[in-house]
């Protein structure tokens, strides 16, 4: 069994695509929000906490109402709460954004696992929604049009985000704030306000992603549910060179790498699971090393803005 044969086997199996998009979906939800935040100049590492809290709130919402839509809404609200703390601390009080993000990751890991042990919400994976004609497309039909129904939100979220960032005044201001906050400030944009708002957007999206992770993929909450997906989403934005197209491609790539752990043994291939789990991270580090000079990040990424300070 050669290497190319293995690749062909994966490429010609329908379940491989389905598993890949299932893993990628969560990443896309989170990465789209993270992309907006990074375009505004925040390297938002509390995204891990946002997904986790979103997943927990999704579980609680489903537990209380048996309604997945309520779960997703609660997930979004929970993500928003985390992003509120992050935004207020880092872009109103000018505390270091990494410090705040890291603390939030640890804090909300504690909060969710504590509340989970106290409340024990029960939940399950929601039903699939299959779109009649499109689902019949060979190979990728099931992958893109036969997923649990919250997957469809992606088809709204991605174009909406594109429109928001590239076709509205708000989006222009967000991009300006990320490129050159001093200039934006002089032209009358409230820099830190735009940055806070884009973090809220990241919170909403990742909370939704968390709820999707729970209700569309895993089914049961536990505190290791996110397992670094937030960081992978963050990395996908960088890997995609801070464009929306690249970000989504990065998510699909990393999603398929993550899914190999499930699909390859099913096809009869043995592989090193440690290597597979660290592959997204290794690929990103190598990509950053190779393309670091060619891809240009937003001009003031991860630099705080205080008026009068450069």
């Amino acid at each position: 069994m050669g290497f190319f044969e293995a690749i062909w086997d994966v490429l010609s199996t329908e379940t491989a695509y389905t598993a890949a998009t299932r893993f990628a979906a969560v990443l896309v939800f989170a990465a789209v929000g993270e992309w907006v935040a990074e375009r505004s100049g925040t390297l938002n590492i509390s995204i891990e906490a946002m997904i986790l809290t979103g997943a927990f709130a999704g579980a609680m919402g489903y537990h209380w109402t048996e309604n997945a839509l309520v779960g997703i809404l609660m997930g979004m609200i929970a993500g928003l709460i985390v992003s509120l703390v992050q935004a207020q601390m880092s872009h109103r009080l000018t505390a270091d954004q990494f410090v705040v993000g890291l603390t939030l990751n640890i804090l909300f890991l504690g909060v969710t696992s504590f509340l989970y042990a106290e409340w024990k919400p029960s939940s399950k994976v929601v039903s699939k929604l299959e779109i009649p004609v499109l689902k019949e497309i060979p190979l990728i039909g099931e992958a893109f049009f036969g997923q649990p129904w919250p997957f469809l939100f992606l088809y709204l979220l991605v174009p909406f985000t594109w429109w928001l960032v590239y076709r509205t005044r708000w989006g222009l201001e967000v991009r300006a704030v990320g490129e050159n906050p001093q200039a934006a400030d002089v032209s009358g944009i409230d820099v830190n306000k735009r940055r806070r708002q884009s973090i809220y957007y990241a919170g909403l999206c990742s909370g939704m992603g968390g709820a999707y992770l729970l209700l569309g993929q895993v089914g049961r909450f536990d505190d290791g549910i996110v397992a670094g997906r937030g960081f992978i989403a963050l990395v996908a934005v960088i890997f995609g060179g801070w464009t929306l197209r690249g970000t989504i491609l990065g998510c699909l790539l990393f999603g398929s790498v993550l899914s190999f752990r499930l699909t390859l043994p099913g096809l009869g291939y043995q592989l090193n699971s440690e290597l597979m789990s660290s592959l997204p991270f290794l690929v990103t580090i190598i990509a950053m090393t190779a393309f670091a000079r060619r891809v240009r990040p937003p001009g003031s990424l991860a630099r705080p803005f205080v008026r009068g300070l450069k």
């Binding site: 601390m89 640890i106 504690g110 696992s113 960081f231 440690e274 950053m288 670091a292 009068g308």
Partner: protein
Amino acid sequence: MFSIFKIMSSMRRRSEIVFLYACSTFVALLLSAIIVEAVGANWTDVWNSLLDGSLRKPGRWGKTLGSAVPMAMVAVGTIISTKVGLINIGQEGQMLVGAAFAAYVGAHAPGSGPIVICLVIIGGFVGGAFWSGLAGALRYWRNVPEVLTTLLLVTVAANLVGYALKNTWLLLDPDAAFGNRALVSKQLDPDSRLPRVEIFGNNFSLSVILALLIIVLTTWVLSQTVIGFKLNVVGENRRVGQRFGISEVKQGLMAMCASGGFAGLAGAMMLASGDFAKYRLVTGFTVNLGWTGLLVALVAREKVMAIIPVALIFAGLRTGSSFLAATGVERRVTDVVQGLLVLALLVPPAILFIRDRRRALAQVESRT
């Protein structure tokens, strides 16, 4: 006249700082108490069992000291790297790699007793320094942000060590492999462990004293020697460093390696002191102590001496949490308390900074 005014204002400022810190700590503790009450427990019970578990019950403060050591070592490293303006947030991984190097050295090094102990400790330092050095090298060679690489390398480290623990030629104990197939490394020989000290029924390993020495030494190096001065210059203003002929790359790499090295040292100390996992390396060996150590450094804010009380408090929360079961509160509540405390302690310096900024701006505007 003027000097009195100056002293007065500096006193006012100091009392303001104290007041702000007291307020924010109070709010954090209040929130924690509310959370505890919300799940139907009594916060005085929780407080008492935390004190019992970390201090009052026999043998407990020795344990608290034991888990304060790795946190303190990680924090020392973190402070060194922030001195030059680098942000290292991958201590959890550096610690694990350090512990893995130490375990390998411990299992394979020739000789006996004290020599092996020294080699184990040095091995830990080298392992951690190697792991953070990778991030440092990428930072200066290709301008890859070190925040990201250090963070990403944490997962890679966990997987790497996981792989090593599955293979006998790396770390897996050959005896354990035949037995219950537990993924553990070879136990350190009794004569190559750090000796333990016993005082008043509490015993702790020699690593506590070693850690104290390192903290004092680091304070001295950072504040009194040319090495510390150079790091400081590069961190404050690298242009000035250039004019002085201080190489930014060299200082940065050195600080990065030292910072990972101390994290690795923490891992080696955990392995050799026996407070964790009985002198063996197991999966998930670092039990989040790397992250907690990072929080300790964040709270200590560039003051090495401040690490000691902060690490003790956080270690107390950790060891105290194992006594919480009796109160009916889930032990993870201490993570919440810890996170809230850190978050609260970030607020006062930020408020002061913003206020100073506003005042300075107002002065400039009133002059024009």
